[in-house]
């Protein structure tokens, strides 16, 4: 096991596992942002493992997850908008999560870029990093918009907020 694989395993254990606990427990206001953080961390784990196994083809899984992760979060936000509006997540907490996401992406992608060296692979890594950061931004904005929609709203018109 080399350093990259060890870093990937550590991120899986210390980053993805706590985020997964957040996804599995609590209300929607905690689960939805935690789901986004979990996919971001997992994408970074895939990048580290790809470097650790010396298999550049594994980067494709990270690329796919960087697109699908925010898409999944937007899906949850859209279908659980009522729950998010009834119990909106704290703005400060969302900001902290976004900052953690940005720092983690920078802390993983930049060393990987240095290790890869200039070339096509580095551009791909940078694209994945930008996609991850953008996805986090978009998902946070969507959660904030869903929470803001709850103000001044009467009885829930649709969605899944009944019997809860």
């Amino acid at each position: 096991m080399n350093g990259w694989t060890a870093a990937g395993t550590a991120l899986l254990l210390c980053g993805f596992a706590p985020a997964a606990c957040g996804v599995a427990t609590g209300r929607a206001r905690r689960r939805v942002p935690a789901q986004n953080v979990a996919t971001t961390f997992l994408s970074l784990v895939f990048l580290l493992l790809s470097q650790g196994f010396a298999r550049p083809a594994y980067v494709d899984t990270a690329l796919m997850l960087s697109v699908l992760g925010p898409a999944g979060t937007l899906l949850f936000v859209r279908l659980l908008a009522d729950q998010l509006a009834d119990h909106p997540p704290g703005q400060r907490w969302l900001r902290v999560l976004t900052a953690v996401n940005y720092v983690a992406v920078a802390a993983v992608v930049l060393p990987l870029c240095v290790a890869t060296g200039p070339g096509r692979a580095m551009v791909k890594l940078l694209v994945i990093g930008v996609l991850l950061a953008l996805g986090c931004r978009v998902a946070t904005r969507a959660v904030q918009a869903a929470a803001a929609m709850g103000h001044g709203r009467g009885a829930p018109a649709e969605g899944m907020s009944d019997d809860r």
């Binding site: 899986l12 997964a20 996804v23 789901q35 997992l42 493992l49 899906l75 949850f76 659980l80 009944d162």
Partner: protein
């Protein structure tokens, strides 16, 4: 032994997510755990050197399964609500 640690961790994640998906009874909450299970399975496939399987698992697990579950729950609840309204009228 240290070389097997990531695979062991992946297996543990899959076991925990699978058990959680069975134990959670509410379908909406279950959709979150199912998406976690999909992500854990994709990690395990990648650790077992099968990135192509991991790719398809990611597509199915992280977006499609929760979409199906949540849409079904939404439809069922909407139908139940309209039936209740009809009964009241």
């Amino acid at each position: 032994m240290t070389g097997e640690l990531p695979v062991l961790l992946g297996l543990l994640l899959v076991a925990a997510a699978g058990t959680g998906a069975v134990l959670v009874r509410d379908p909406v909450r279950q959709s979150f755990v199912l998406s976690l299970l999909g992500l854990s399975l994709a990690t395990l496939f990648l650790l077992l050197q099968a990135p192509d399987v991991a790719l398809s698992q990611l597509a199915v697990g992280s977006a499609l399964t929760p979409l199906m579950v949540l849409l079904s729950v939404r439809k069922v609840r909407r139908k139940a609500r309209s039936e209740r309204r009809e009964e009241r009228e």
